[in-house]
Amino acid sequence: MKQHYSALSLLRHGINRHTTWAPAWRSPPLKDHYDVIVIGAGGHGLATAYYLAKDHGLTNVAVLDRGWLGGGNIARNTITIRSNYMRDASIPFYVKSVALYEAMTRELNFNMMHSKRGMIDVIQNYPMMRDRRRRQHIMDIYGATYEQITEAEIRRRIPALTGGGPDARLPVVGGYVHTDAAINRHDAVAWGYARAIDAMGGEIHQQTPVTQLLRGPDGRIAGVETPRGVIRAPKVAVAVSGHTTTLTETVGLTLPLRTMNLTAFVSEPVKPLIDVIVNCPDAGFYLNQSDKGELVIGGAPDTGQSFRRDIKQTVFEDTVSAMLSLFPSFKKLKFLRQWGGHLDIAHDASPIQDETDVPGLFVTAGWWGGYKAIPAGGLTLAHLVATGRPHPLMEPFGINRFRHLDYVMETGTTTAR
């Protein structure tokens, strides 16, 4: 049974020296059959299992992960939640996802440490200003907020931004504020969903890698093979971020995805300095300051496909020098950690969520900046798996768009562009 979390429960368990907390989720024995198998206990897999139970009453569901819960890209990303996308197909989906994130702390009774601090795009050339203005007009239609601000206002709100003056090669010419943007705590998202899934009867099995998808004689999906044995299910959803093609190739399916390595690094903790997410697309980096005081910094992905989860020295140096061009005082900062994560990106930079040519096999993939998409991505995939029909918000993102050359080319996918 789920223990309710509150100030009172904290006090009560504190008096008992915190020895009376129940585990947030069980570790039940693995069965050999489920109604639905979800592969991947990252954000998308967990959100899918959550909505399968909550919206569709499907609880004979197992989420399998080859590592530990929430140890994939959900633990490696820079947690920017935003909806400033470019396409009519994309914006409503991300607006929904941002709204679901805002309600998540209450819904899951788990503190997400949601901080709606807004994001400022610092622009250093006029064509980019026009591009952002176009984005503003499209976003206006869907209720996402994007407002132009002056250079003086940027410098007032980000005092540490002292570079990019009139003599710089790329002077700051203005910017845009996306007031809906937020950051929160990624572990809480994974743990909060896991606890809610468990309370509704779903199961999470860690250390259970899927090595092969299995088809029945009728060609439908039949289950999965793991080192812990074959597990059968009439429906299997692949939510493995980066490894999608590795798995679908086991049933001969090819997809228009390539896997790339995106990296980030953090500085030593410093006093509160920056209270918004700062995105500098022309310089090629973005940053925010964590509650602990560390600056969390990201830049461009590695060149070429990569399953390596490490930062390249060249990418690190390029990102640092871009950052110093606008924040010269950061030269004194020491860096603590750096890391990478491999993500798949589709031919048109938009997600793919659909039932595949193998009946009963579903994929949710191409989540390049897909942390922000977790709640809505789970909601829509659960709808598709349970009803067999795409959710209206995800309808434009089926696999057939490539066959019909009906791409959703999305320049809003990467922050740093």
């Binding site: 090819t254 496909q305 490539f402």
Partner: protein, 85 residues
Amino acid sequence: MMQIPCPFCGPRNESEFFYGGPVRPSRPDPAAVNDEDWTAWLTQVPNPLGPVQEHWWHARGCGTWLTIWRDTRTHDVVEAPDDAG
């Protein structure tokens, strides 16, 4: 830094090169293949967990285009597709 072997200049730093994408099958005649094969050629590239063959341009060097096999797990340049890095 990753070193890329140029047939003319020998191993050189990656920063001297521009990336040209993975090697794909040669372009089919769109009229001679069915729609499925045509759109697959347009949108799909090999995405192996292991060696991938790709084009690089020695732009800040001798200017030649070359192809290498690079292991996507390690970024090691390897001899052949079945040569695990």
